[in-house]
C-alpha cells in the first residue's frame, strides 16, 4: 500500500529564499530576468549597430554647427529612431527565443509566469532607453558648449527620442506575444518607417496647417531657420504623452495577452486592464490636445514677427555694423562679425564710410506658418519681384537679412555665410536706395557682380556658398542665398553670379585694384555688366533674354 508524501519542511532551494512570500520571490526573479535580458538586449548586434548609427548621426548633424538648442533637441529624435527600430527587432527576437529554439516545454515547467516574463522583457528596454537618454544629453551638452550656441532644449522634445525607444521595445514584445513569426517585426518596422516618413513629409509641407500629422510618431523640425522657441508652437509635451500613452497601451496589451494565455490571477488581470484603460485615455486625450489648431495668440505673435520683424529684435552696435537679433540669440553676433568685417574690408574706405553702419538683422521663414488670408493684403510696399512672399516688412532701414542657422561645415552653412556676406555687400554697394523712394532691395547689373565678388572675399566658405547657389540656379534667371528668403532678401541674377564666380577665380589683388580705382562707376546703378567687363578687361558671360529681371 502506498502513502502520499506530505509537504515537508525542506530547506530552501539554493538561490531561493523560502522566507520570502511567493509574490516577492517572483518579483525579485522577474527583476533578475530583467537584468539578464537587458544585458542581452544591449549586446544585441542590431542594437550595437543602431547605437553606432545614432552616435554617427548625432555627431554628423551637430558637427561644425552653431546650434540653436531648441532645434537641436528636435534633431535628436531621428537618430534615436534607429535605436527604437533596433529595440523593436531585438525585444521581439528575445520574446520569441523560447519558440524559436523550441524551449517552450522547458520554460513551461518553471515557476516564473508568462506574464512576469513578459513584464521582464518590457522592463529590459529601460537600460536601452537610458542609453538613448545619455546620448541625447551628451549631444545637447556638447552642442551647448559649442561657440555661438543659443537657446535651451525643451525637455519634452529631448525626451521624445527615448520615448520612441520605449515604444519600439513595447511593440517588439507585443508582436512576440501575438504572433510567433519573427518575420512580423521587420515588416512592422518597415511599415512604421514608411508611415513616419510620409507623415513627416506632410508635416513639413503643411506645418501646423495640418495638425493631424502630429498623430504620427516622428516629426522633424520645421524646414527653415530656427525661430525663437516661443514661436515654434510644437505641442511637444502632449506629443510625448501621446507616444508614452501608446507605449503603455501596447505594453498593457502584451501583458493582458500573456495573462489570458497563462490563466493569471484576477487581480493581475484587473491591474493590466486598468493600465490599459488609463493609457488609452491618456493617449486619446493627448491626441486631441496636440491636434488642436494653432492658438490665436501664437498666430498673432507669428504675424507680428512677419509684418514687423524689427519690433521683435534687439539691436547691438558693434562697428562696423548694427546687429539686430531675436532675444537670446546674441551669441550669434560674434559668429557673424568676421564675415561682416571681411566684406567691409574689401570696400574702399571712403565708400564704406558712406554706407556704414550696415544693419544685419535676423529673418526666419515664419510666414510659412501663417495662413495666406491672414497676411495683410493692404500692405503698401509692393513686391520687388514676382517671386516674393506676399508680405513685405514695414518701411525702415534697409537691412542685410541673415538666418538663425550658422556653422562652419557643410553646404547649408556655406550658403548661410554666403547669404550674410552677399546681403552685407548688397547694402554696401547700394546704400542710398532707401531714400524715401520705392525701396530697391537688390543690387542691379554691375552692382550685383561687385557685391557678389565682395561677398566671396569674406571666407572660402562664403565663396563656396555663392558657387553652390549659382550652380543650383543654373536653369533659372535669378537666385537667392536662402532656401527660405525673407521679404527684404536681395535677389541676384544668375548672369551676375556667373560673372562674379569668374572674378573669384582670378587673383584677388588684380580685381580689387581695378574695382577700387573705378568704384563709383562699377557701383553705379546704371552700369551694365558689359561695361564692368570692359573696365576689368574680362569678357562677361553671354547675355540672356532677361538678364536682370529684378531691376
Amino acid at each position: 500500500m502506498s502513502t502520499t508524501v506530505e509537504h515537508d519542511d525542506r530547506p530552501p532551494a539554493a538561490g531561493a529564499s523560502r522566507a520570502l512570500p511567493a509574490g516577492a520571490r517572483s518579483r525579485r526573479s522577474m527583476l533578475a530576468l530583467t537584468t539578464v535580458e537587458s544585458g542581452r538586449l544591449l549586446r544585441h548586434p542590431a542594437v550595437l549597430a543602431a547605437t553606432a548609427v545614432s552616435v554617427w548621426l548625432l555627431w554628423r548633424w551637430g558637427k561644425g554647427t552653431a546650434p540653436v538648442l531648441h532645434y537641436a533637441d528636435i534633431a535628436t529624435q531621428v537618430p534615436l529612431a534607429a535605436l527604437a527600430g533596433a529595440a523593436l527587432l531585438a525585444t521581439n527576437l528575445a520574446v520569441l527565443r523560447s519558440h524559436r529554439d523550441g524551449a517552450v516545454d522547458l520554460y513551461g515547467a518553471t515557476r516564473l509566469s508568462l506574464a512576469r516574463r513578459t513584464l521582464s522583457h518590457l522592463l529590459s528596454v529601460l537600460p536601452l532607453v537610458a542609453l538613448g537618454a545619455i546620448l541625447v544629453v551628451a549631444d545637447l551638452a556638447w552642442l551647448a558648449g559649442t561657440p555661438g550656441s543659443v537657446g535651451s532644449p525643451h525637455l519634452a522634445e529631448a525626451a521624445t527620442g527615448p520615448a520612441l525607444i520605449v515604444l519600439g521595445g513595447c511593440l517588439g514584445v507585443l508582436h512576440g506575444r501575438l504572433a510567433r513569426s519573427v518575420a512580423l517585426a521587420p515588416l512592422v518596422l518597415v511599415a512604421l518607417a514608411l508611415g513616419s516618413l510620409t507623415v513627416a513629409e506632410l508635416y513639413k509641407g503643411g506645418q501646423d496647417q495640418r495638425p493631424w500629422t502630429w498623430l504620427g510618431t516622428l516629426l522633424p523640425a520645421p524646414p527653415f531657420d530656427p525661430p525663437p522657441a516661443d514661436l515654434l508652437g510644437r505641442p511637444a509635451t502632449w506629443h510625448l504623452v501621446y507616444l508614452l500613452g501608446i507605449a503603455v497601451t501596447v505594453a498593457a496589451l502584451a501583458l493582458w495577452r500573456s495573462q489570458a494565455h497563462a490563466r493569471a490571477p484576477r487581480r493581475a488581470q484587473a491591474a493590466a486592464t486598468m493600465a490599459l484603460v488609463a493609457a488609452l485615455a491618456a493617449t486619446t486625450g493627448a491626441a486631441v490636445v496636440q491636434t488642436r489648431p494653432t492658438s490665436p495668440t501664437l498666430a498673432a505673435q507669428r504675424l507680428a514677427v512677419v509684418n514687423n520683424p524689427s519690433a521683435e529684435l534687439v539691436c547691438q552696435r558693434r562697428d562696423p555694423a548694427v546687429y539686430c537679433v531675436f532675444p537670446g540669440f546674441e551669441p550669434q553676433i560674434a559668429l557673424w562679425e568676421p564675415t561682416v568685417r571681411a566684406v567691409v574690408a574689401a570696400v574702399p574706405p571712403a565708400a564704406a564710410a558712406r554706407a556704414l553702419p550696415v544693419t544685419v538683422a535676423h529673418r526666419v521663414g515664419l510666414h510659412r506658418l501663417i495662413d495666406e488670408d491672414v497676411l495683410d493684403p493692404t500692405q503698401d510696399n509692393p513686391a520687388p519681384s514676382g517671386d516674393r512672399p506676399g508680405q513685405q516688412p514695414q518701411p525702415g532701414p534697409m537691412v542685410a537679412p541673415v538666418g538663425t542657422a550658422w556653422g562652419r561645415d557643410g553646404p547649408e552653412h556655406a550658403l548661410a555665410q554666403a547669404r550674410l556676406a552677399a546681403n552685407v555687400a548688397a547694402r554696401l554697394v547700394a546704400p542710398t536706395r532707401n531714400d524715401g523712394q520705392e525701396p530697391q532691395w537688390s543690387p542691379c547689373h554691375a552692382q550685383a557682380v561687385v557685391a557678389l565678388w565682395l561677398a566671396g572675399q569674406a571666407s572660402p566658405q562664403a565663396a563656396e556658398g555663392i558657387r553652390q547657389a549659382v550652380t543650383w540656379a543654373a536653369h533659372f534667371e535669378t537666385f537667392v542665398m536662402s532656401h527660405d528668403p525673407a521679404p527684404d532678401e536681395p535677389f541676384w541674377s544668375v548672369r551676375a553670379g556667373r560673372f562674379a564666380l569668374a572674378l573669384l577665380d582670378r587673383p584677388r589683388d588684380q580685381i580689387a585694384q581695378t574695382l577700387w580705382r573705378n568704384w563709383d562707376l562699377v557701383t553705379a546703378p546704371d552700369t551694365t555688366i558689359e561695361r564692368l567687363g570692359e573696365v576689368l578687361g574680362i569678357q562677361p558671360p553671354s547675355d540672356t533674354s532677361n538678364p536682370d529681371p529684378q531691376c
Partner: protein
C-alpha cells in the same frame, strides 16, 4: 519491510489531440528510485511526462505529485519549484554559454539571489562534469555535452522529482555509461522518471518500469517482472520460426524467436527486451500482459 511512500499518484489521465487519444485512462503511482517509462514512438510517453511536469494539463483525470495538486495555481508553482524536467528537446539557446543557459533557467525557477544562484549553477554543472566548459557557447558543445547541460538545468534546486525524457538518445556508449552512473546516483533518495527506448538503460538503472502503448499503460512492475512476462515465450531455432511474433538472427547463427513456441522448442531465459517486445506484439498476447 516498509512500503515506500508514493511521490506521484496519477488517476485516469486522459488527453486527446484531435482524433488521437495520447493518454487513455492512465493510472499509476511512483515511488522514490528510478522508474523507467518504455514505449514505442507515439505511445504517449512525452505527453505523460509533460503532464507530470505541469507543462500541460490533462483533459481528464488527476495527478497528485509530492502531495501537491497541479490544478491549483499555488500548488502548481510550488511543485514546479520541486521538480526538474529535462525535455527530449530542451530547446537550447545556441548563443548562450552553458553557464548562461543554466543560469537563465535558474532564474525562471525563481532562484533570484544572484550569488547563491550562480553557486547553484556551478554546482549542477560540476555534478554533470561540465564545469570546465561552462564558458563555452552551447553551439560549440558536443551532443553528449548538450545532454548534460539539459540534465544540469533539471538538477537546479536539488529537486525531489526528476523527469527525464529520453536523456540518452543520441549518446555514444561511453557517454551513455556516464549518464547511467549519474542518473543512478540521482535516483538515491529522490524519484526519477526516465523515458527511454533503450531497454538496457532500464535494466541498468530502474527499480520500476512502466510500459505505455497507444496511450494505455500496459505494464507496471519491476524489470524482472517485465522480463518474466516472456518466460516460456522465447526460444531459438536454426531457422526463423513462422509462428513467431518476432525473430532475429543472433551472433551464434541461430534465430531467437518470441511468441508462442511450438511443442518441444528449445526455450531460452527471457530478457526485459523480450518482455517488452512481447507486450508490443499484438492482441493475442493481451492475456500475458494482464
Amino acid at each position: 519491510m516498509t512500503t515506500p511512500a508514493s511521490t506521484v499518484q496519477a488517476r485516469d489521465l486522459t488527453m486527446t489531440f484531435g482524433r488521437t487519444r495520447a493518454l487513455d485512462g492512465v493510472s499509476f503511482e511512483l515511488v522514490p528510485g528510478v522508474t523507467g517509462l518504455l514505449g514505442p514512438n507515439g505511445a504517449g510517453k512525452t505527453t505523460l511526462l509533460r503532464v507530470l511536469a505541469t507543462v500541460s494539463a490533462p483533459d481528464a483525470g488527476s495527478v497528485l505529485t509530492l502531495g501537491l495538486d497541479p490544478r491549483r495555481t499555488d500548488q502548481r508553482l510550488d511543485l514546479r519549484g520541486r521538480l526538474g524536467y529535462m525535455p527530449q528537446e530542451p530547446g537550447f539557446h545556441a548563443h548562450f554559454t552553458a553557464f548562461e543557459f543554466v543560469d537563465y533557467v535558474a532564474i525562471l525557477k525563481e532562484l533570484h539571489q544572484r550569488r547563491a544562484r550562480h553557486e547553484e549553477v556551478r554546482r549542477v554543472l560540476e555534478l554533470v562534469g561540465l564545469d570546465a566548459v561552462r564558458r563555452k557557447k552551447i553551439k560549440a558543445l558536443s551532443g553528449g555535452m548538450r545532454r548534460r547541460v539539459a540534465l544540469a538545468q533539471a538538477l537546479l534546486g536539488d529537486p525531489d522529482l526528476l523527469i527525464l525524457d529520453e536523456p540518452t538518445a543520441g549518446l555514444d556508449p561511453e557517454q551513455r555509461l556516464r549518464f547511467r552512473e549519474l542518473v543512478g546516483q540521482l535516483g538515491e533518495g529522490r524519484t526519477v522518471l526516465l523515458s527511454t527506448h533503450q531497454t538496457e538503460d532500464v535494466v541498468a538503472l530502474c527499480q520500476q518500469v512502466m510500459m505505455l502503448h497507444l496511450g494505455k499503460l500496459r505494464f507496471t512492475g519491476t524489470p524482472l517482472e517485465l522480463a518474466g512476462l516472456a518466460q516460456g515465450h522465447v526460444w531459438h531455432s536454426h531457422k526463423r520460426d513462422p509462428g513467431a511474433l518476432g525473430a532475429w538472427r543472433t551472433g551464434t547463427g541461430q534465430h531467437r524467436n518470441i511468441g508462442n513456441p511450438p511443442a518441444g522448442a528449445d526455450l531460452l531465459e527471457p530478457t526485459l527486451e523480450d518482455g517488452y517486445l512481447l507486450l508490443l506484439g499484438g492482441d493475442q498476447f493481451e492475456e500475458v500482459a494482464a
